[in-house]
């Protein structure tokens, strides 16, 4: 091409301004809003013969639910205000006089006034959640550039009003309080539409504790893996996951580790404690607590009673939801033994039993029932749950294990007024011997917080299934772990010696924190350990005298360790119950200085570091994803199932995404 044009291009590049950040955000939000409204109109749940008039009614309540929500009101008010300002003579006068009198100054009061008036005059128009065409809002002559210079007020209002709508969306990403409350606070804030209404359970990162003030740390084990699959699904789409979706302990516990197996005839699991220098901080140490559950002989296991409770609401129609769910359950069928029993209950509008309890040897019947499922109608989570529990109880004979496997994309919005009542219901059923596990499917509406809460109360695991290979991991490779509990209510308590350890910090487990006194209280529920499961917990500890110490040492405190305990930096206590038992057992072991960690601990540390970077941790600053990749690659080990190799690929992707 000629020099002429190259010059021109250079000039043009120099002249082209960067888009205004606020404008950009507002535009993206507007586009997303229109996109979602459009989806809603396309994939509205159709009333089916099953739902009939009730479907119509739930449709109306859904609409009303949406409209009364704060987000809906803010958005529609904002739209009406825009229309009011630009379309009506009063509105035009309002800002035009401001423009003349005040020049470029726009005041909040004006906007408030406009919003209030618009609200009062146009509430009936606000009933329709229609697609916002920018044309309608801005093509009106007065708002156009022929009248106004770039600094004027119309330009100011547009982004402001658009921005108003944005917090409504972000507030749906629930940030739970540090007290460990696991539920999304108000269901009515979450619009039950096709909009992105995902909620994630997470609390603020555990802070550094000063050992002399709080020498004891207590938490419940966590064997869920949903967070890892969520992170993976985000990264695979070319986006870094929302920080609240990252629960570090679930990332670490996603992988099987080769820890020392428990002695036969002893406790059902074996803790191993080791110490290693912290990869991301040369002046601190990582205490690595590993628990390996025993693997009972599969032939000895009692027959299983499984109830598949399947969400078949309209939102499940996506290829990554119901079709993947069917394939996943078919995979699992091959793992069952002939005498195991399976029943299928679907819930959409009204709940229904699709398959009466059937022996697993009758594969064809089960397969046909699964394949007959189709998506349609709205969700009635609780109705389905009640029926599933009733079926499960009818299947349970003496000494048998019953479990409800709930598969959903997260919608529990119909027939449920009080989320905590649902949790209580599940907890009550847990005590009668029927457990609940939750499998999440699809993105866009996933109520991660709800899934977590339900599974924790049901003594089960919450897993998120995004691909068939994840289904393979959860429902085939680790099926016995997911379905056979070997120890219930496993709690961990660690006491550090303040004369040796100045500060400590538990990595992850924010949503699993327990009070110190809860440890010995057998009434307090905690996580369950499945057959063959491994659980890993990591503490970052700062030894006395380390330059990494954040707080100053006390002048009047005892400085010397007790003579005969010089080698001990802390003490680990574990409590668990045999499945079905009410009284807990205690396991104790000291944490010794010279227990070198192996490559398994190194890999866990690499994943923990990666997770903290994704969360935006304040404690991992001078360490990059590249360092995590190096460490993980060195400690990859045999990696029979290829999970670790996949994690390393994910880290590489995340690194390049972060670089952008």
């Amino acid at each position: 091409m000629s020099d002429d044009l190259d010059d021109l291009k250079a000039m043009m590049t120099a002249a082209t301004p960067k888009p205004d950040a606020a404008k950009r955000t507002a535009d993206l939000a507007l586009a997303q809003n229109n996109f979602e409204n459009l989806q809603g109109s396309r994939t509205q749940p159709r009333p089916t013969p099953v739902t009939g008039l009730q479907g119509l009614w739930t449709g109306v309540t859904t609409m009303l639910g949406t409209m009364t929500s704060k987000g809906g009101l803010t958005a529609t008010t904002a739209l009406v205000a825009c229309g009011f300002l630009f379309l009506t003579p009063t509105g035009q006068d309002m800002w035009r006089s401001d423009f003349r009198d005040l020049g470029a100054v726009s005041t909040d009061a004006d906007v408030q006034k406009a919003l209030a008036e618009a609200d009062a005059n146009f509430t009936t128009q606000a009933e329709e959640p229609e697609v916002v065409m920018a044309d309608d809002l801005f093509v009106q002559p007065e708002a156009r550039t022929p009248v106004i210079n770039p600094n004027d007020m119309a330009e100011e209002i547009a982004p402001m009003v658009m921005m108003e709508a944005a917090p409504a969306t972000t507030s749906a990403l629930t940030r739970n309080a540090a007290d460990g409350a696991l539920f999304a606070p108000q269901q009515d804030l979450i619009a039950p539409s096709e909009a992105n209404t995902e909620t994630f359970a997470n609390a603020d990162e555990s802070p550094v504790k000063i050992t002399s003030e709080a020498p004891v740390s207590t938490f419940s084990i966590d064997v869920d893996t949903a967070s890892y699959a969520l992170v993976r699904s985000s990264i695979m789409r070319g986006q870094l996951p929302p920080p609240d979706a990252v629960r570090v302990e679930e990332l670490v516990n996603y992988f099987p580790y080769d820890y020392a197996a428990p002695a036969p005839e002893g406790d059902p699991f074996q803790p191993t404690v080791s110490m290693t220098p912290t990869p991301w901080n040369a002046d601190t140490q990582l205490v690595h607590i590993a628990i390996q559950g025993e693997m009972p002989v599969v032939e000895d296991r009692p027959p299983l009673n499984l109830v598949f409770l399947i969400d078949t609401s309209g939102s499940m129609e996506d290829p990554s939801k119901l079709p993947l769910l069917k394939q996943s359950f078919l995979l699992m069928l091959d793992q069952l033994r002939p005498e195991d029993e399976v029943a299928i209950v679907e819930y959409a509008g009204s709940a229904g039993e699709v398959l009466a309890p059937t022996k697993a040897e009758d594969r064809t019947a089960i397969r046909n029932a699964l394949n007959s499922l189709g998506a349609g109608g709205s969700t009635n989570g609780q109705g389905g749950l009640e029926q599933a529990y009733a079926v499960a109880e009818s299947m349970t004979a003496q000494g048998e294990v019953s479990r409800v496997l709930l598969a959903t994309d997260g919608d529990f919005n119909v027939g449920l007024s009080d989320p905590s009542a649902l949790e209580d219901y599940i907890a009550e059923k847990r005590d009668t011997g029927t457990y609940l596990s939750v499998l999440g499917f699809g993105r866009g509406n996933l109520q991660d917080a709800t899934m977590q809460a339900l599974a924790q109360n049901g003594n089960g695991t919450a897993a998120y299934i995004d691909t068939l290979s994840e289904a393979q991991k959860v429902l085939v490779d680790q099926l016995s772990g997911a379905l056979f509990t070997i120890a219930s209510d496993v709690k961990i308590q660690v006491e550090f010696d303040p004369t040796q350890i100045a500060e400590y910090r538990l990595i992850g487990y924010e949503t699993r924190a327990l009070n110190r006194e809860d440890f010995n209280n057998d009434k307090v529920d905690a996580g369950d350990l499945g057959a063959g499961h491994t659980v890993t917990a990591l503490y970052e500890v700062t030894p006395v005298g380390s330059p990494a110490r954040l707080s100053d040492p006390l002048r009047y405190a005892t400085q010397t360790p007790t003579a005969d305990l010089q080698n001990e930096i802390g003490f680990l206590k574990l409590r668990y119950k045999e499945p079905g038992a009410d009284i807990s057992q205690l396991i104790e072991t000291p944490i010794l200085r010279d227990q070198e960690a192996g490559p398994e601990a190194q890999f866990a540390a690499a994943i923990a570091g990666f997770g903290q970077i994704l969360r935006g941790s304040d404690y991992v600053t001078d360490w990059s994803i590249a360092d995590a990749i190096t460490l993980a690659t060195q400690s990859k080990g045999a990696d029979t199932f290829g999970y670790r190799a996949e994690a390393i690929r994910l880290m590489q992707l995340a690194e390049s995404l972060k670089g952008n």
Binding site: A31, Q32, A134
Partner: protein
């Protein structure tokens, strides 16, 4: 920049109702879209309005995306059509408001003063006729003449001719300025 998912896959996913895919897609292309709008309009505020129009209308246009096409080609087509629509509306508006009188005249004069301070190039671009300007906007975005022809639905020869016309016009304008 390494991408995990191609634009085309994202667009298809978005057309099938995947909200996140749509968000990523628009996020990737927003800056480029804005730059293109700026090149077509030559005025920042105009470019901002145009970009907003496009963003608002884009979800409804996803249906028109076809697998064979590159996303950028499709997006630029949408943008080009949106720019044409705007110009048409503005032309109507100018006719309808020609009786606005003194206030309008004073404002235009003020605008002209501001325009004098704008970069020569931007001003020159606004002086070109819309077809030439749009063509140039695309060519300057590292598009080949064949690609531009695909977006504008004209032959490649037409594009080459328009580019040379545009160059001629710009050169003339520059000479005139240097003389004065």
């Amino acid at each position: 920049m390494r991408m995990t998912t191609s634009d085309e896959d994202l667009a298809l996913a978005a057309a099938n109702g995947d909200g996140q895919a749509f968000a990523s897609l628009l996020d990737r292309h927003y800056d480029r879209l804005f730059a293109f709008c700026f090149r077509m309009t030559g005025v920042r505020s105009e470019a901002e309005d145009l970009t907003q129009d496009i963003c608002a209308a884009l979800p409804a246009k996803l249906g028109s995306y076809q697998r064979q096409a590159k996303v950028t080609t499709w997006l630029y087509k949408v943008a080009l059509n949106a720019a044409h629509d705007r110009r048409r509306k503005q032309a109507t508006y100018t006719k309808a408001t020609s009786g606005w009188g003194d206030w309008e005249t004073a404002r235009t004069a003020m605008n002209r003063e501001t325009a004098d301070q704008i970069d020569w190039l931007t001003q020159a671009m606004t002086h070109l006729n819309p077809d030439l300007r749009d063509t140039l906007a695309l060519v300057l975005d590292d598009m080949t003449h064949a690609q531009v022809a695909g977006i504008m639905d004209v032959s490649e020869g037409t594009i080459s001719w328009r580019v040379s016309e545009a160059k001629k016009a710009l050169r003339a304008l520059k000479e005139k300025e240097e003389q004065s």
